[in-house]
Amino acid sequence: MSSALLSIRDLVVEFSTERGRVRAIDGVSFDLAPGETLGLVGESGCGKTVTALAVLGLIPSPPGRILSGSIRLEGRELTRLGEREYRHVRGKLISMIFQEPMTALNPVLTIATQMTDVLVRHQGMSRRRARDRAVEMLALVGIPSPEKRIDDYPHQMSGGMRQRVMIAMALSCNPKLLLADEPTTALDVTTQAQVLEEMVRLQERFGTAVILVTHDLGVVAETCRRAVVMYAGRVVEEAPVECLFEQPRHPYTEGLLASIPRIREEKLPELPTIPGSVPDLLHLPPGCRFADRCPRADELCRRREPKLELRCDIAVACHHPNRYAGCRE
């Protein structure tokens, strides 16, 4: 796919831990079109955040490193960039919003300083121009009286406000790609709705492509067009959200969808679950990583790991996927 904005191929990120080396992600591949919103979904420890950090070259090293694979932004290989070149990508071409609004901003600098620094650095603006632009951006994300609030320190704002500031800062240089790592997880439900809405509105306005890293399939259903489902460091399914939610092909996706807490008309006698728990990345089974928890697992699954196979626009890594429901080509 040459039209892709971002193209990740066979990415492997390894961490050395006390108990040995661990591949936090092991052969992840997917593409992202310009302006597209992609959900990167999975439970904790599945490697979704590591994937996002790898795109920005922010894998903490040591102990982590990119072992192999490629990350291309508009055809340009990012994994081989030097630190100096990468700095011109970060915040300018790709920016990122983090999970914890309470700690992600520098507590001893004002919002103004933190936002103008970025604009001065990447857009070559004067401080005065940068400040005007920052105020403009704050107004866009819905911060009341931004020309006053910009001189606040982060601790003077609520969590929702700070997350808006992060969004404003992330979009201020008009990046091509926005990585949003669980941007609403730490927020309350009512605030979560506000912030998500704000983010989607701006992303559409700026034409930014977004990778939304989340554990919440509900958020994916409401904001994304396509989703990549990860499990234990691997992609197990990739599909347009309509297909994914209507007819999940991988048994893990199916189980995950079923076990989301949701408001139901009729009370079920028992909530659907996935039995067992996620395998320890240090002691992975030889075959499919989901085999231990999978109702469909057989000898083949325990012996050989399935490859991610693409058919039409749905890719699935399973020996016994659900029946293919047809595609929209």
Binding site: T17, E18, P279, D280, H283
Partner: protein
């Protein structure tokens, strides 16, 4: 849950980690070697001739006097051996007692944080920290009228505050943990909550602090002895260095170099061991 993982307590895990730390194990070996030397002196196996004045003045190192003799003809090697015992005397007594005191006071202050017991202990720590150390030792020496343990008592009385502050902070942190609330919810008496659930989780701090205090005590002994405030009976590296200052001006370095090297190697080994211990016991790393 993977069955191949060994069933181990956090202590066993820490020991396993420590065993794999090469520098840590080597330094532990050096410390143990010193300990054996000190033990030998206690048992009367060696180092007993430290006070005999029989050799010639400033004899060079040789087969009779391995490291030469000092200004009045005492065997420097014997004296250095005996001083190892003095160092362990001071180090062990001060480390053990000040750590116990610090753990207890810190535990109480932390558990009763923001109440009068805490305020009182904090005040006491502030007071002890605000008195200059050498003056405190001297004053205590006066007050105890030449009691040979005045130095030990002074060190214990001042060194426990650091430990207590660390333990207090940790206890305040641990108190917020839900397992402490769970203990309250089952009706466990406060005393047991403190001793069974909170303090055991500060042992790693106490252990590391004990090694640090040990080093601090040995180093302070040297300076106090040099100033004439320290060891009064027996000999120590500090006293050897004190007597060597005159020899040094006459160009005889053996006494100075011997005492300094004995001291340096032990302190270095202890410092490295303390580091290794801290790494091995770090709960953030162990639980990972």
């Amino acid at each position: 849950m993977n069955r191949s993982r060994e069933r181990t307590s956090l202590w066993a895990k820490a020991w396993y980690k420590l065993r794999r730390d090469r520098i840590g194990m080597i330094s532990l070996g050096v410390v143990l070697l010193y300990f054996v030397v000190a033990l030998g002196v206690w048992l009367g196996l060696w180092g007993q001739g430290w006070s005999q004045v029989e050799g010639p003045m400033w004899a060079p190192p040789g087969p009779k006097y391995w490291l030469g003799t000092n200004i009045i003809g005492q065997d420097i090697f014997e004296r250095a051996l005996y001083s190892t015992r003095t160092a362990f005397d001071v180090g062990l007594v001060v480390a053990v007692l000040s750590t116990l005191l610090g753990g207890l006071m810190g535990g109480l202050a932390g558990y009763f944080s923001n109440r009068w017991a805490d305020e009182l202990i904090l005040w006491l720590m502030g007071v002890l920290d605000a008195i200059p150390f050498y003056l405190f030792v001297a004053a205590l020496a006066y007050a105890l009228q030449g009691n040979p343990y005045a130095m030990h008592i002074a060190m214990i009385a001042t060194f426990w505050t650091t430990t207590a502050r660390l333990v207090r902070g940790e206890v305040i942190k641990l108190k917020q943990f839900e397992f402490v609330e769970a203990a309250r919810a089952i009706g466990l008496p406060r005393r047991l909550i403190l001793f069974r659930h909170i303090l055991p989780n500060t042992f790693h701090i106490l252990l590391v602090q004990a090694t640090i205090v040990f080093v601090g005590a040995i180093k302070s002994e040297v300076i106090l002895s040099f100033l004439g405030l320290g060891v009064t009976d027996g000999v120590s590296w500090g006293l050897m260095i004190a007597e060597s200052t005159q020899e040094v001006q006459a160009g005889h370095f053996s006494n100075f170099v011997t005492a300094s090297s004995f001291l340096f190697v032990l302190v270095m080994a202890f410092n490295l061991f303390a580091d290794a211990l801290q790494d091995a016991l770090d709960p953030r790393k162990v639980s990972a």
